[in-house]
Amino acid sequence: MNARNRSVSSSESIALADVNEFIAAYEASPRFGESEVRFSILRNFTVDGIDLFLKYRCYQAHVTPTISIGSYDTIIQEVMDKTSHVHASAPDVIILALLLETFAPDSTSPTWSADETQAELERLFSLIGTESQALVAVNTFIPPLHPESGLICRAGRRDKASEVAKLNQFIRSYVRERPDRFLLLDWERLALTLGAEGTFDSRFWFMYKSPFKKSFLDLYAQELAKIAKALRGMTKKCLVLDCDNTLWGGVLGEEGLHGIKLDRHTYPGNVFYAFQQNVLNLADRGVLLALCSKNNEDEVWEVLNQHPACLLKKKHLASWRVNWQDKATNISELARELNLGLDSFVFIDDNPTECDLVRTLLPEVTVLTVPQRLYTYPPILWEDGLFDAITASREDDQRSAMYGQERLRSLEQAKFDSMEQFLASLEISISVHEATAGELPRMAQLTQKTNQFNLTTKRYTEAQIQYFASDPSMAIISLGVQDRFGDSGLTGVLIARHIGESCLIDTFLLSCRVIGKSIEMAFLRRGLELLKARWGPVQFIGEYIPSRKNGQVAQFWNQAGFTECAHAAESDSRLYTTAPGYPGPSPISHIRVED
């Protein structure tokens, strides 16, 4: 099970049976060279359920944990005794799991003050820090659920919530001041995430002194697994971002600088704004940022430089690949350029096809997809502690990540074979036919909106398109695209004019959505067949009128097998023709053509 790319939300409830099954299957399967992390748990309550979840979460991260759990409430003895499990097991991390009720039994009394408890805590932390070289993970306490004085805070009386807050404040500062030795396991935040229902098991607390529900232990285990991953250098170092519908709402090439959705206050722009804030937080932590997007570069820089709500700037970027090349190749190039292993990368994109492509061809990269429920998008970067690092990493930070030339070469060869397989797996089918009356409005709209894959950028109104449709010397051919993920709808327009023995292609365009899978060639091939069927063996004339945005199609007619025959110097536009007996572009094997 490749659990690396699967993020399990913390509120998903885990069935014990499934956890056991996963562990059994994982332990039975062959594992090679897996990292190992040794945990030693010092506790004062029944924490044994943690064993199971710690294995579960560490196995998902491909780390093997060794866990030793101390006796019920003999922490100090175990720390002082050099032969105890704490020292003998040579742990990487000592987990100090303290329940307030047991550590400070009079915390249940209304006169309890945190001061003495704090002093005891400090003595304990200091003792462990001195007696051991391991990292020490300590927890905050969970605040009381019910206010002791009801609605009123009584003057002159201690109140447990404030006392617990004081203790937690002390614990947080203590850890903050010792980043190379201590780590914080914030039970207060975990309880906040799960709520009382998901945290406390009153039944088992009273019956067996086991205070926590499985959901809490699982969430606790996830935090510990994050520590394990960080310790073994598995922290992700670079975030690669798509642009359209990832950094902002909408497609830049179609909506333009002022049409994309990116705004501090208004929905949905504010979701992307919040996401960008989180991206910058990562940059601030030292994570590298890169763009990998199918856009025109200068349009992207325009957004970064000029859009008032774009927080991300070019200066935040370590590198970028803004082009029409496939994203797997782009990310491989980024890895080479930044001198990082592919397993250091996280890639985020809104398009499931792009995500699938990268997931399939570059399995070491963690791939995130922008969720359907957009309001859940901004915190996606915090999932699984992907970027969480430990300041004093026990691993050699110089994890050399350079791919040898040979490895890259074979990667590229494998990529080519896989790319074909991948494209075939998409099950793309296209429908090409003369546009029906009902399709004409959409045809007109496409001529107005499409900027990038557009050979001549001629804009037509609905009335004009209707007129063409009624003119026997003209043909309007539409393209519909479907694949395994669904129906993309009408996404291409071919307008042709019959002139004597020739057929001039006035308009040939494709919507952004369907670029990059050779659909254009399949469309052209079938479109020309239809035109030949209608007007006989004509000579085709293709036109290319350069614009600010259609640079990517400059070579299109050449690629289709046409020959350049005229070039107007001032406008830089070109004409291309076909030779007699021109067979059309080669058929595309991974695309099925219907009529």
Partner: protein
Amino acid sequence: MAISRDEQKLKGIMARLFRVDPDLITEDTSSETIAGWDSLRHMDLVTALEEAFGIEFTDEQILELLNYRLIKLVLKEHGVEFG
């Protein structure tokens, strides 16, 4: 005599939790006869049974789950059928 689906489910849960062969579970199988059946495993058993059968035991019932025969009896009170 064919074993009912629910009985199979029950044996499967106990087998996995206590690491025993399901075919070796008898009416008298209890915490006395199985090494791994301590109070911690007992809690896991309670949770696993509640999850698997979609029920909730009362506190008294938790204390009554002492051996295989008694477990079946308690489960029957919750509408589980053992054929």
